[in-house]
Symmetry: C3
């Protein structure tokens, strides 16, 4: 393996989309179930340690817990328990060398802590739109649109996030819904007795309101848990909405995107406000991240690509997300150097764009 390019090794990464880290210890079953998007380990398969990600934990994380490279899974988990969650979290979050985290804290907040609890890195909140709607709708359908607007006006979030992919799919109608249609949708929702925001009109309303108030909107796209339908998560389904919102001049971030990352790259090229990443996939494919990142970077302008881990729960995932991203980015740039496609100054500029400059510009970070 080649050493990392120095300009990549020293990147002060901004992780523009992640979740929190588990406060409590976790046993082997719990740990393995967080190495997969399945709800649990299948009795028909074998251990999730027999996967690209599982092997990466044993290979790259074990030494940080003072275990030998590729220590057996049971030894790894015993060591992890003996150190305790706080120490494990600190170890991997520090080792990730991520300088700033944008955190979607809307999933299982009671079990998770923000990464900055364990590091000196800064942390900024991302507001989960569906969760906001779920809180505000309980006060009744009448006035729901205004309550959303007020909440956004008061929010200190640096961005918003939509999980439309999980709830209604990404084939969102492009039209901005009227307040009357939103109230009617909220009425139907309340009548349904469900606490989950899973209505296309309301989702679309949330996205438009967020963009009009200048909040970048992050969309989960592609690969995810078994409760989504991957066919409904192709970023191309967002085309009409992207065309309709381009004029607002506010960034839309397509997260993850695997295995539709080439489609996402196309959208980032042709729509002025679209940015993309390959978070989640980066640690999931582990030592194969170089190919996936290279594909994702084929036609996307380098000013439109970001880094994220999408890490959730296990501190190892921040570390591995950053590790394999650096590896893949270094491989991409080294390959360009070897093919005489870039000079070193280009490589350094592109690394900075993708590692942190694009995030600073898109989210107006200081």
């Amino acid at each position: 393996m080649e050493p990392l390019l120095p300009c990549v090794a020293s990147l002060r990464l901004v992780d523009h989309h992640c979740h929190g880290v588990l406060r409590a210890d976790v046993d082997r079953d719990g740990f393995e179930s967080m190495l997969t998007e399945a709800p649990s380990v299948s009795p028909l398969g074998t251990s999730l340690f027999d996967s690209s990600l599982g092997l990466a934990v044993r290979r790259w994380c074990a030494p940080l817990l003072d275990l030998p490279v590729l220590a057996p899974a049971d030894e790894y988990l015993a060591r992890r328990l003996s150190l305790g969650a706080a120490e494990v979290n600190r170890t991997f979050l520090v080792a990730s060398e991520i300088s700033m985290f944008l955190v979607d804290g809307g999933l299982s907040p009671e079990r998770l802590a923000g990464p900055s609890v364990f590091t000196h890195s800064s942390e900024l909140p991302v507001l989960r739109l569906e969760r906001l709607a779920e809180e505000l709708v309980t006060e009744g359908a009448a006035g729901f649109p205004d309550r959303v607007r007020s909440a956004l006006a008061l929010s200190s979030a640096v961005a918003t996030k939509s999980i439309a992919a999980y709830r209604v799919g990404l084939a969102l109608d492009p039209e901005r819904p009227s307040d009357a249609s939103v109230v009617a949708a909220a009425d139907r929702w309340l009548a349904s007795g469900s606490s989950r925001c899973a209505d296309e009109v309301i989702t679309r309303f949330l996205v438009w309101e967020a963009l009009e108030r200048g909040f970048p909107v992050q969309f989960h796209v592609g690969y995810g848990d078994s409760d989504l339908s991957l066919r409904d998560c192709d970023p191309l389904l967002l085309t009409d909405l992207l065309r309709a919102t381009a004029g607002l001049g506010v960034p839309v971030m397509l997260l993850h995107n695997y295995p539709f990352h080439r489609n996402a790259g196309y959208l980032a090229q042709v729509f002025p406000h679209v940015f993309v990443d390959v978070g989640l996939a980066t640690h999931a494919v582990a030592h194969q991240a170089s190919r996936v990142l290279a594909e994702a970077l084929e036609i996307v302008p380098f000013g439109k690509f970001l880094f994220s881990t999408d890490a959730y729960g296990l501190a190892e995932l921040y570390y591995l997300g950053a590790l394999f991203f650096r590896r893949a980015l270094s491989d991409f740039l080294s390959h360009g150097l070897r093919a005489h496609a870039f000079a070193l100054a280009d490589v350094e500029r592109v690394a900075n764009l993708i590692g942190w400059r694009n995030a600073h510009r898109a989210y107006r970070l200081t």
Copy 2:
């Protein structure tokens, strides 16, 4: 070219999905037409020997017939004829070093012989569900569901196979159909005068019945003859049915999958009973198999991936399917070793899982 890893070279492969081999000799047109999924060689193109697979025949198969490497196509076919089908079949099947074949004998059984006729390898039957239905429906719609259940109860097949992709597409409704709806569908079928099973209700019934009786169901997915519509063969179309049948705990095998192999890998990760392979594509892409296999293995747990050739008709296809699979698997594992992602013990375990252990576990082979 690197030598194969010893643990891959010595794998006792289980080919969990193939067809039979031609009993009779074949001329050049017949041979070329079996190097493509097209019904025949196009007068607008050139010889099918100008394709990855065609060149692979000349490169890798010619020496086994005592011809020089890359012998001209006509010499190859003349030599093949002079040896006779039986000798050619024996040569390539033995050289494939496949220890066990699971054979879908439902396509052109009159022209084909099982591979074990020519080797000492074992062979187990796979029951083609549409063919079973076509036989049983001729006795009338009334009682058709019970006749299917009786036939399955008596079947000694190790698994079942559905060609829904060719007949109704993979967008199967998830619901288990009632007997009454199946009888009505059989009535419509008989009234249509067609002998082909091409009804969504009946297909779905067959799949549910097979799974409930504990038979793994193999689905043709992706790439195939021109009489399918590839858009209807994306494995993601099966999502709802997979979600509905996960609780049965019986394997569903997604075959081939190209060019949707990443989508298939996602399904194998998130659904407990889903297994995948890249049969057919392995020999079709030939010396490029390493990239396709690596993509297919990105997010799939290694306990959920299988080997198959999907060989049909030409004995060369078993040999080339096994040859390029070994090459691709060795390249994948060697790349992991070079990237310090795996240790040798991991490589050996993963090779055994993919080469035969997963098949033994999923099909309960002894």
Copy 3:
């Protein structure tokens, strides 16, 4: 970087699909906006020179204008202006070493000149079907079908081109429309007041008429400007029409195809009259073209693949399209040589097929 294989370096390429080259000079904004399929440079991103294609211009084109490798963008554009459009056009078109251009002149003809204005290469016209219809419909709906037939009968074009992807999507009905239905569609079109041909019936009519008169039909497929919807540009949407027209024995050329190039390869394998290329993507992905071309060549018979640049406006795009195509083809063939998949004679034959022989056969060039 390896040197090009001599048989690839010396290929007399036929560019079977390109547009014309700008007659006038262009400033930095105008130049950058032609490095992307977006309508303009996004203020949220950075310069389009920070993309694979932008870097390729500085790397490979600068030296041809007597600038240093990777000269800064502003120096490049200043030098370009000082030389003037004619000299720049001549330089890059000659350096592309393309021997023959098939030119779709239907887009902005007033601003563009044919490539042969600046080289000694030959040039043949491709008739844009939608433009023909737009001219002929102004004479009224009655008689429109016959006017189309007469125009085709008199046309000296070597092929026709459809931009159905941009106007109605590729999900064309397979049936040949009746003259009465075409007249009715033309009536609706004229009543709409639009000058654009964007009617599915008329598109389909144009395609059938062209094929029946023996004109190969080129389809824009996949990647393109933001005014298309990429979901409607998957070549698999053409499946039914391809099945219906296979019997005519006239070539259908699927252009570009990215990121659906594997789907296109499948169609070229199973349908006798389908040919494919990866034009446009070749220069867009630039130094990454080797991977894209290799994927595109996985299952396509080598007698069914063509070269094109799809260059439009900037003379650099002809040069870079040819440069990266030669690089990618050489890499593909060299990899096959290294993997012992081909012999040198095979490599030379395949290079000639793809570089020019297939185009000569499909378009009956002399």
